[in-house]
Structure formats: C-alpha cells, structure tokens
C-alpha cells in the first residue's frame, strides 16, 4: 500500500465544494454572459437549416474555389455535401456544421492571440504548455460534468467542451509559426523602423500563416471529433444520430451518421489545407 500522505477524500470534497460554490454563486452570471454566444449560434443554425440546400452547396463551392483556385476541387466539395443531403442527414448535418463553425471560430479568436503572446513571452509559454497538455489529454467527461452543472444541458456546454478540446492545436501552431519566421526577414523589418505592430501584422503573421492554417485545420478536425460527446449533453446534429444508433442498436443509422461526420471533416480539412498549401507554395524560398 502506498502511504497516505494527503487525504484524497478531503481533496475531493474540497473540489466538490468549490464547484458547488461556483454553481450557486456564479451560474446565473455565467449563463447571462453566454447568452450572446447562444444567440449567435441559434441564428447561425437557423440560417443554415432554413437556407435552401443548393445555396449552401453553392456557397461551399465558392469558398472552396476561393481558397484553392481549382475548379475540379470545388466541384468535388459540392458533390460531397450533396451526398450528405442525399443520405437524409441534411438537417442534422447543418446543426453540426453550425456548432462546428461556432466552436472553431471561438477557438481561433482565443487561440491566435494566445499563440502570439506565447511566442513573445517565454514565461507565459512555459505556463501555457502544460496547460495545453492537460486540455488535450484530460478525458472530456471530466470537465463536461462541471460545465453542465454551471450551464445546464444544451448547446453552450457543448461549445465550451469542444473549444477546450479543440483550441490547443491552433495555439501551438501559431506559437510555432511565429517562432519559425525567418529571423533575417524580421530583422530587416526592424532595420527599416517597423513598430512592433507593423512587425506582427506585416511580417510575423503573414509568414506564420501556413502554420496557423495547419493549426486551424487541426482544430476543426478535433472539434468534429467532439460532436458525438457534445450530443450527449444536448447538442443535436449528427452526433445525436450516432448516439441514437448506439442506443437502439441500429448499426445502419449509426454508420450513415458517422459517414456524415466524415464528409464534413473531409470538406473542412481539404478546404483549409488547400489554402495553407497555396500560401506555402507562393511563400516558399
């Protein structure tokens, strides 16, 4: 037996007490703070679900073309989205899509500035790195419970859980990308009297963009992999279909919904990658 040095029971109890305290005192405030996000998410979901299906496909193809400048590629993306609808998963797919866009958007908004700060301050970086490790490896149910206690079942806890799980790649790769910027290019911009803002937006971020895009790509992939878990706490969509399939032992339902998730993943992945690739080719030395 390992000797008892600290009482695990006491630690557990005090953590439980702390979460209870948070729930009692701050749940309302946090809920109110999350309302704008919820409103935006609901609006986005309504938009995607109510828009005619062909318009969504056309917009997707346009985005694909804008990112890659390849016609065959964007036609392929449109065809895959069409396939999603053809499998009878359009509505659920749009719900998942809106959740993903929201979660990815929040991840980027949080992740890129944190990544920039990490690249600038070594001390902040050394604090953040273990925190990112925890976020990526901690089983998501562990933080789902307190989040559900604070926000109740629904879309908000689903988004929070997704962001916690999905944000590390974009942070890491932003940090890495900025650190990898050619020192001489940066020095040149300093030598010409660029302020630190001019250096950041004129040199560091543009040159780190391929890496940042790779981070965003990874973030979307990880967000998608969270949709099944998120569906357990009340986010509907493709994940819910998978869950239903499991509960009712309907393998076909589960498999089709799973394929739907894969289709969305492939579309997101290829579009973001093709953008990063194009940047990289042009920027290669």
């Amino acid at each position: 037996m390992f000797p008892e040095i600290i009482s695990a029971r006491n630690v557990r109890n005090s953590i439980d007490g702390f979460v209870d305290y948070l729930v009692i005192n701050y749940a309302d405030g946090l809920n109110r703070m999350s309302e704008p996000i919820l409103a935006a998410l609901v609006w986005l979901e309504q938009l995607l679900r109510n828009a005619p299906w062909w318009s969504i496909i056309i917009v997707t193809m346009l985005i694909a073309y804008g990112m890659s400048r390849r016609i065959a590629f964007s036609l392929g993306m449109g065809a895959m989205l069409f396939l999603l609808g053809a499998m009878g998963l359009w509505d659920a797919g749009m719900q998942t899509l809106s959740l993903m866009i929201m979660a990815t958007g929040i991840s980027i908004i949080i992740g890129i500035p944190i990544g920039i700060l990490m690249s600038k301050f070594n001390r902040f970086r050394s604090v953040m790195l273990p925190a990112l490790d925890i976020m990526q490896t901690m089983p998501s149910f562990v933080y789902l419970i307190p989040v559900v206690m604070l926000f109740g079942l629904g879309k908000i806890p689903a988004i929070i859980a997704t962001v916690i799980y999905a944000v590390p790649p974009v942070i890491r790769l932003t940090d890495l990308g900025i650190r990898l910027v050619d020192a001489e290019v940066l020095e040149a911009s300093r030598a010409f009297g660029a302020s630190s803002t001019q250096q950041l937006f004129g040199v560091q971020i543009p040159l780190a963009l391929p890496n940042i895009m790779a981070g965003i790509n990874q973030t979307t992939m990880m967000a998608l992999s969270m949709v099944v878990i998120a569906s357990m706490i009340g986010a509907r969509g493709l994940g819910y279909e998978v869950l239903l399939g499991i509960n009712r032992l309907e393998v076909g339902r589960g498999l089709l919904a799973g394929l739907g998730i894969v289709i969305l993943a492939v579309i997101f992945d290829r579009i973001t990658q093709s953008y990063g690739k194009r940047k990289q080719i042009r920027g290669a030395r």
Binding site: E187, A188, R190, A191, V203, L207, R282
Partner: protein
C-alpha cells in the same frame, strides 16, 4: 567630415553584462571571460570614424564581431557600453519612437540573405521602407519602381522573391534600401551569398551607384578582395577587437600583425597595387644638357648600365653606358642626341598590366604621375616582391633595405640587377650632389634634385 563616430563600444553577451564590463575594460580576455562568467565578449573597445560619402569596409572572419558591430549602428543590438554618434547625435540615447524614426529616415540596411518578404512582390518589397514610414501607396510604389529600374530590375515588379535568382533578390534588397533615401547604407555581407560573377557585377553596380549618390556606406565582408575593391577605408576585426584600420594600401603594404598578413595571403595583389608602388626612387638622374663625361663618370660610379634623363620635369628617355662612352669619345657637348626613348607608364597602372608588359619585354620602364612628371624607374624586383604573397612585405615599398645583393628573379636572370639596390634613406638628404646636372644649367639642379634618384639599374638593353 565624420558622418558616424563609434566611440569605445563594448558588447558582452550574457545575462549580466554590466557586472563584467569593468573586468573586460581592465583587459580580461575573451576566453577568461567565458570561463569565469559564461558571458561572451562580442566587441571590445571599438572606435571608428566614418567619413561622409565614403565606403567603409569592416572585415573579419566569422565570429570576429563584424555583424554584431554593424547592428550597433542602428541598434538592432544594444551596446553594453560606448557611444555611436551619427551626425553628432548619440544613437544609444534614442527612445523607442525616435529610434524607429531614425531607422526609417537615416539608415537603411541590406542583408546577407536578402531578408525579403516572401509573400510580397518585388515592387511591394522595394516599397517596404516607405510603407513603414506611412508614405501613400502610389507614391511609395512610384519611388520603388524608380529604384528597381536603377538596379536593373525593370519588368520584374510583379514577381515574387522566390521567382528571382539570388543576385536579383539582392538587387531588390538594394532597391529597398535605396528607396528610403537614407544617407547611410549598412550592408551586412550583402554580396557574400552570391556566386563570384554576380558578386563582381553587384560590386560594380554598387560603385557605380555610389559615384552618383554619394551615400555613406558601411560594408561588412569576410572577403579581402571585396574589401580592397570597394573600401575607401578598411577596418579589420578579430575576436571583437579592432586589429587594423586604414586605407586599402595601408593594409596591403604594411599589415600590423600576422593575422592581417594571413588574410592578405590569398589576395590578388596585382589588382590592387599599381605601378606607383613599384617605383624605385632614382638616385641618379641626368638632364638633357648633362655633359657626357660627367654622365659617364656618375654612371660608372654607381655601376649603372643606363640612367634616366629628364627634360625639365618630364621624362625624356634613358642614356645607356655605351652611348655615354661613345659620346665622350666623339666629344659631344651634351647627351641630348643620345637619349633613347623607352616605355613609360602612369603610376595608376595596375600591377597586373605592368606584369604583362614586363614579361613581354626586357626594356626598362619609367613611371610617371598623372601630370606626366617623372617619378622613377619601375623595379622588377619590387614588382615581383609586391605581387608574390610569399615575400614578407614588411619591407616598406620605399626601399629594400638589403645591400646590393638583390637576387634577380629566375625569369629575369639576364637582367643582372645585382648591386643596384641602394639605401634610399641616404639619398634624399644627399640628393644634391648625387644629381648630375650640367654645370651651366644650375637652374635645373634644384628641380632635379628634388626628384629622388634612380637605383634601377644597369639593365642591359635587350
């Protein structure tokens, strides 16, 4: 006038440079500092004066601190101690905003690996400095276009850097630096990454631009040939210390120590040195009106086979010993009719050209200055000595100090100039009696006397 004055710059890399500054000032060596404190001595007591409108070359091998030094000028690296005055303003005291302004307006920089923005076109890159200054887009691009044209890149405005060759990329870097119209141009090993042909081309272009623009250029290189070619003055660094500073000729002809000498070893000296460096000051000059008997006597006294003859200050030709004897026998009044024409070259002729000439003919060669005035005779021994890198060159160019036993070089063994080397120190002081002039032409005496005398020799005419 000094554009940039560097005063006692010290740079120590490490966590607490101030703590070790005193010790370094007391003379602690780089190795000792590293062993005791894990601090690296970057620069030690560097002071330089850089004249306005000149190209100042700082050279040294990698690790000598030359790139560190140039980055002090625009404070990309902060000095540990010391001052840098640009137009009398101490750069080290500038605040953040002032420093940005200073970098925008006063100094621009060209980098070894170009430092171009890969995501911007050539035109946008050239306009970068102006964009930073907040110049309007049209105006910046117009200026950038002009400078791209000046460096020979018209038509490449919309290419991206990775579509250009190294030489072209560096031209973009140069255009970017010139576009800000800064008075000072810092060039950090700007041509080192280019292949030799392109490098030469860029050097020529830089010299050509400089002749029109008259910027103050600080040029870093590890290549002595490049330094000698471009520099009005050269400073040589080693391990963060200034080893020698001077004009290219100073460095080439009187290196301070073995380190500099080792540097000089691979230099193509014949391209830098010219005929003027290989002149032997004449111990004996004749004038057109010298009496043959006197000429003969003097030539025999010095054991010369011929002697240069002046007409006024202009070089007229040489008088050969045989001819002098002939003249005495036939009782000529003066030697003017016997003077033979020989080749004379201006002092600015490169030694490489002189060498070719020397190899083609055995005739003696006279050296004149730009006004055609006689300077002296070309010394074959000296030419060979200057061009050869093996000969220790601390023998000053003025004179060999050895007595009359200069062994002729193999290729010219027939010239037999044994015994012709005279010690020059004695000559100027006793120049008057040595200079043989016709007694009836006293006026000429002074003029000629000022001319140092010929030691070059009794080279038999071929």
């Amino acid at each position: 006038m000094n554009k940039i004055e560097v005063k006692n710059i010290y740079k120590i890399f490490g966590k607490h440079p101030e703590k070790w500054l005193e010790a370094v000032k007391q003379g602690m060596s780089k190795e000792e500092l590293l062993a005791k404190s894990k601090h690296t001595l970057g620069l030690k007591d560097i002071s330089l004066n850089i004249e306005e409108g000149s190209i100042y070359v700082i050279m040294g091998l990698s690790g000598s601190g030359k790139s560190t030094l140039i980055r002090h000028f625009n404070r990309l690296i902060e000095p540990t101690a010391g001052q840098i005055l640009v137009d009398g303003t101490d750069v080290t005291t500038l605040g953040k905003k002032e420093l940005e302004k200073f970098r925008q307006k006063t100094m621009s920089m060209v980098f070894q690996r170009f430092g171009l923005l890969p995501h911007k076109t050539t035109l946008e890159n050239a306009a970068y400095g102006l964009n930073i200054q907040g110049v309007s887009k049209e105006k910046a691009q117009e200026t950038a276009r002009y400078w791209l044209e000046q460096v020979g890149l018209a038509g490449f405005e919309n290419q991206y850097p990775n579509q250009l060759s190294g030489g072209m990329q560096q031209r973009v870097g140069l255009a970017r630096a010139l576009a800000t119209d800064a008075e000072i141009l810092l060039m950090d090993e700007a041509f080192s990454a280019l292949d030799p042909l392109i490098r030469r081309e860029m050097q020529n272009q830089l010299l050509e631009l400089q002749s029109r623009l008259n910027k103050t250029i600080v040029f870093i290189t590890h290549d002595l040939d490049e330094a000698l070619r471009l520099g009005n003055r050269i400073a040589i660094l080693k391990d963060g210390e200034l080893i020698q500073e001077g004009t290219p000729e100073d460095i080439l002809l009187s290196p301070n120590n073995e380190y500099v000498e080792a540097f000089l070893h691979d230099v193509n000296r014949s391209k830098i040195l010219n005929a003027g460096h290989a002149v032997n000051k004449t111990r004996l000059t004749l004038t057109m009106r010298t009496r043959p008997a006197l000429a003969l006597e003097r030539m025999k006294q010095y054991d010369y086979q011929f002697a240069p003859v002046l007409d006024g200050n202009l070089f007229a030709g040489i008088l050969k010993l045989d001819d002098a004897e002939q003249a005495v026998r036939s009782g000529l009044r003066d030697i003017s009719s016997l003077v033979r024409d020989i080749v004379s070259v201006p002092a600015s002729t490169g030694l490489d050209a002189v060498l070719t000439h020397m190899l083609q003919s055995n005739q003696p060669v006279a050296v004149t200055d730009e006004n055609d005035q006689f300077l002296g005779m070309m010394s074959r021994t000296k030419v060979v000595e200057l061009v050869s890198t093996d000969t220790p060159n601390n023998e000053s160019p003025d004179e060999g100090k050895q007595p009359a036993s200069d062994t002729p070089e193999a290729g010219q063994s027939d010239s037999g100039n044994t015994g012709d080397t005279a010690s020059a120190e004695t000559v100027p002081s006793t120049a008057n009696p040595e200079t043989v002039t016709a007694p009836e032409a006293e006026v000429d005496t002074n003029k000629t006397a000022e001319k140092p005398a010929s030691e070059e020799p009794r080279k038999p005419a071929a």
